[in-house]
Amino acid sequence: MTAIEAALEAAAEAVRATGGELRAGGTDVMTRPARPLVDLPAGADLHGITWRPDGSVRVGALTTITDLLADARLTASYPALAATAAAIATPQIRNVATVGGNLLQRNRCWYLRTPGFACHQNGGDTCPARDGAHLYSAVVDQGPCVAPHPSTLALALLAYAATADVHGRAPLEIADLYGDDPTRDHVLDSAEILRAVHLPPPVSGERTAYRRATARERAEWPLVEATVRLTLDGDTITTAAVAAGGIARTPLLLPEVAEALHGGPATPDAFAAAADRATARCTPLPRTAYKVPLLHATLVDALTAACTP
């Protein structure tokens, strides 16, 4: 076992022994009720940004969002990652929050975070939000839990077809990090450590944008958010990747939107028609119906912004 593996094993063992939780920057775990916390090892290979000979890049899980944004080569190579990361939270949070913590944070459902409610996410077997106050809940109902996934960064990683390097596992696609069990925020067990994410070699000349819909101008969790990547040949869209958040139990890649755009013109009508494909997925709750037009609007806005020089 290498020293790095030993350090990771020791952290994992400490979590298993205490029944606790791993901590990276702590900006999520520290907002939840106290329990034993195990800091991720600083000495291991969890920090930093490493370029591979094939042009791909490895971003360590403990890299802060600010460090990610401060890396000029990374932000130039992956503009959608930069735009998405820059929209996360606030400067003080980005200075501390890490890539791994962002991907693996727990959801922000107010029932989950208000004492006194049992639900699917904390050992219960009901969802008080579904029949209760769910103004900010999902609009794509993957049942039984309807809390939107909180990770903004995941949208960019989905759009770049990144993979996750989890200690002791084969590389995982980002979508597989979230799996299909709606009662969980990700598939890792509490002692599993995300070491890094890998992004495939960058594509030059891509057009990208990130947009979020909120009531206030800044520092507010999105009602709906979207990241888009396009390449154009003249006015024709040659490749597209579109991901949206705030709408479902997991951050969602929207292949149907990409497919609708592919090979077509970059025009308002084409954007609207492509966004229609996404809203076709929606199965709103009584109070989240507004997110259907909002998803449409956010996608159109992001696509338009990406194509506006």
Binding site: T27, P91, N95, P128, A133, A219
Partner: protein, 841 residues
């Protein structure tokens, strides 16, 4: 673990769960770093770690090992941005200020390293400070301060004087608030609260001393109601002890709607204990199950009802009728309710975050059977109040009772969750309003029924205030309280008026639209108040109003709306200010608190100019109940009471000096009194120390909004706020106060709303992430205009501005959104979901 703090290396042991903010505040005494939200949202706890900012309330203490930490104390007051904050009055209560300053210092340093002395844009400043919240709404000054510091305008320490006399202590973190007070042997008190919205409490078991906080019938009536309090040496231990307290609850049916069968206050005696959401005397009203009302303030009610009825029957176009609703708004001051209590030889000593030290001292003396002068209150700095800190509140009762039980000082500080649930709210309302215009274009009559969603409190009194607006046309005005098992409302900045004006001022706007008349012109006709007429005249000439354009049908539509407000003038006629000559300076003293409204500076200014003194020659000591009797900082009465008393004191001192210099008059003391107004008051004698003076203050607010019809967002871009309150004692501070009022009004209009679980009425927005107050980026450009004429009967010729500045803001936004979108929104707040649904209709 070793780390460096403000340049000094220290060695401490920390637990994994300790936060950096706890370490700095509790163990190292660096209380400049505040904790206001505890969840990374507000930035009050911001510190620099190796030059980068972090939220200290979430930052693991252990992560500081080997790092260099700079707190506000470490900036030392020498950073240009600190001087800029002081000079541009970028602060009011000051509780958020250390966090802002630490962030702004890091930003300014970075900015100047990259851009020299080019000033950053508003957007750049907003982005940099987006992790900070200021409940007082000092954002306009903050924009100006940061831009000026970046531009190098405050590099010279002498460049500009502080706008507020206590500014330096607030920008350096030296200002001590109640939450910062630590006494020898002090225990931390924690309140045990009911998880049930309605229950009879039986036995309470605890393995230590416990103070009960129940009403006489031992029934709790909302989830989060205090049941008992316990104390221990640390907060963690107290919380653990509280968790072990066993309370027997016999659960009662929850009243979620006032027509439920169960009655929340079943007997006459227990009704008497219902908390109050209003200020001053309460109008009489019948109780009918869970509904209290109508409390009527009508004028020719039958005529009004008859006219409206007839118009309704005839389908009269001149009848504008609709139902308006408003959300429950939380005060959520940045400094939570907090109290440090200790008993000392039969006397009670409190450090208290209060707006009303003399009133609370009286209440406390009565409650604990003490004589006058046996309750001593200190409130040197108070981190906001907005009406929520005027009584003996739960924090006080808990701290005092626990201090007695433990024979030790006890500190009780509410958590943000407790603050939002139980620290105070403006009741929600449903207002049915019918406004009829006569053939002559005048106001013919209106009927207004206001139904207050006031939880277990009474006195939501919204309609009441419409009695005094728009002349003397017949009006039927009825207020109802709908009692349910929800947390009580309490007075909040202009209690009752923002919801009343949300209804009335939109109806007036609608009337103007129907008549094809300019909404300002119509108000000018209907409104007899000459001071407000001067404001109408002025604003209708401004490009903001005159050059309104067709909003068109594009994605972003711009609209402009107007609304007006009218408010009574209150004062405390018993107010006194003492002046003492001490070592060549004049020390002014009064038992009042400065919650960010600027009382210190007003007194200093008055005394200085009356006696021709230099700035350093007057010192103001506020915040001690032993001082000369002072008013509550409530009902906008402070300045109108204090300034004339200070003037009177200065006059007396000048006389007593008989031409001698201050150096020759050591120890000379005079007490000034608030002189009576010419022609006296509306109230023949003061009630609860308040008198209602003659005349009304007025406001006219014009707001421009941009509505993004795609993403459903309303963004106020420009606000003109005209205030008619007579002489303005301290113009820069008064402006800050009004800007803050505008910003709170924006929050009320667009973002703020208590949300709850419909099945249990449990509050779900008990944090500053889900309870959304405006941030710096939501701040429009605000132009405050003071009309200073018309108060010649008042000594000093000026009255209060704190409340009048906020009341009409939401209605002006509603009218602006109507202009922009063609849709009339009746429900507050105008959230994106409502906006999208409304314009889709």
């Amino acid at each position: 673990m070793e780390f460096s703090v403000n340049g000094k290396v220290v060695d401490v042991d920390v637990e994994t769960t300790d936060t950096a903010a706890e370490l700095l505040r509790e163990r190292m005494g660096l209380t400049g770093t505040k904790v206001a939200c505890g969840t990374g949202v507000c930035g009050a706890c911001t510190v620099q770690v190796d030059g980068r900012t972090a939220a200290g309330c979430l930052l693991p203490a252990g992560s500081l090992a080997g790092r260099e930490v700079t707190t506000v104390e470490g900036l030392g007051g020498d950073h240009p941005v600190q001087r800029a904050f002081a000079a541009h009055d970028a602060l009011q209560c000051g509780y958020c200020t250390p966090g802002f300053v630490v962030e702004a210092a890091a930003f300014t340093d970075r900015w100047r390293a990259e851009h020299g002395t080019a000033a950053p844009s508003r957007e750049e400043i907003a982005e940099a400070l987006s992790g900070h919240l200021c409940r007082c709404g000092a954002y306009a000054g903050i924009y100006a301060a940061v831009a000026a510091a970046c531009a190098g305008e405050h590099d010279d320490p002498e460049a500009a004087a502080p706008a507020r006399v206590e500014a330096v202590s607030k920008i350096t973190g030296a200002a001590r608030y109640t939450t910062d007070v630590v006494l020898d042997g002090m225990l931390e008190g924690v309140i045990v609260r009911s998880p049930h919205p309605h229950a009879k409490v039986g036995e309470i078991r605890c393995d230590g001393p416990l103070a009960e906080l129940l009403p006489p019938d031992r029934v709790v009536r909302y989830a989060g109601q205090p049941v008992a309090a316990v104390a221990a040496p640390t907060r963690a231990e107290a919380l653990a002890l509280a968790a072990r307290v066993e309370v027997e609850y016999a659960v009662l049916p929850t009243v979620l709607s006032s027509d439920d069968e169960t009655v929340v206050f079943p007997t006459k005696e227990i009704r008497e204990t219902a908390p109050r959401a209003n200020e001053g005397p309460l109008a009489k009203a019948e109780w009918n199950g869970n509904v209290r009302g109508p409390a009527a303030m009508s004028w020719r009610a039958r005529t009004a009802a008859k006219r409206i009825e007839r118009a309704r029957k005839n389908g009269d176009r001149n009848l504008v009728e609709a139902t308006y609703t408003t959300g429950v708004q939380a005060h959520t001051c940045m400094e939570p309710h907090s109290c440090v209590a200790r008993w000392n030889g039969g006397e009670l000593r409190l450090h208290l975050s209060t707006q009303a030290m003399t009133r609370v001292a009286e209440q406390a003396a009565e409650r604990w059977g003490l004589g006058p002068g046996q309750v001593h209150i200190v409130a040197e700095h108070v981190g906001g109040g907005f009406g929520s800190k005027v009584n003996v509140t739960t924090d006080v009762v808990a701290a005092v009772e626990l201090a007695r039980l433990h024979e030790a000082p006890v500190r009780v500080v509410l958590s943000r969750a407790e603050e939002i649930v139980d620290g105070g709210t403006r009741p929600g309302t449903r207002i049915d309003l019918a406004v009829l215009t006569g053939e002559d274009g005048g106001l013919a009559a209106f009927t207004m029924d206001a139904h207050g969603d006031s939880g277990v409190s009474i006195g939501s009194n919204a309609a009441w205030h419409s009695r005094f607006f728009y002349g003397n046309a017949p009006r039927r005005i009825r207020d109802y309280d709908h009692i349910t098992n929800r947390a009580p409302g309490i007075p909040f900045r202009g209690p009752g008026l923002p919801p009343m004006l949300w209804a009335l001022e939109q109806a007036v706007d609608e009337t103007a639209l129907r008549r094809g008349e300019d909404p300002i012109a119509l108000r000018r006709r209907w409104d007899g108040n000459p001071k407000r007429r001067a404001l109408y005249d002025r604003v209708s000439e401004l490009p903001l109003w005159r050059d309104r354009t067709d909003p068109g049908v594009g994605r972003v539509r711009r609209g402009v709306g107007v609304a007006a407000a009218n408010y009574m003038y209150f004062l405390d006629p018993g107010t006194k200010v003492s002046l003492t000559v001490e070592q060549g300076t004049v020390v002014a003293r009064i038992a009042a608190s400065d919650i960010g409204t600027g009382s210190r500076s007003v007194i200093a200014g008055v005394v200085r100019s009356a006696l021709d003194l230099a700035p350093g020659q007057v010192r103001v000591e506020l915040g001690r109940s032993e001082h000369a009797y002072g008013p509550s900082a409530a009902s906008s009465c402070s300045t109108a009471s204090i300034a004339p008393a200070a003037q009177d004191a200065a006059r007396r001192l000048r006389k007593a000096l008989r031409g001698h210099s201050l150096a020759e008059a050591e120890g000379l003391e005079v007490v000034g009194r608030r002189p009576r107004d010419r022609r006296g008051y509306v109230t023949p004698f003061a009630l609860d120390h308040f008198a209602i003076g003659r005349g009304f203050s007025g406001a006219v607010v014009v707001t421009e909004v941009e509505v993004d019809t795609l993403l459903g967002r309303v963004r106020p871009t420009r606000v003109w706020c005209g205030i008619a309150a007579g002489h303005i004692y301290s113009p820069r501070l008064a402006r800050s106060q009004c800007e803050g009022g505008v910003i709170q009004g924006i929050g009320y209009a667009l973002f703020e709303q208590r949300q709850e679980d419909p099945a249990t009425a449990t509050v779900l927005t008990a944090n500053l992430e889900d309870y959304r107050i405006p941030g710096i980026a939501d701040t429009p450009e605000i132009d405050v205009h003071f009309h200073t004429e018309g108060w010649d009967h008042v000594p000093g010729r000026g009255v209060g501005i704190g409340e009048i500045s906020t009341m009409a803001v939401a209605a002006s936004i509603g009218n602006a959104v109507r202009h922009a979108t063609g849709h009339r929104f009746h429900d507050l707040p105008i959230r994106p979901d409502r906006l999208l649904e409304g314009i889709a209709e």
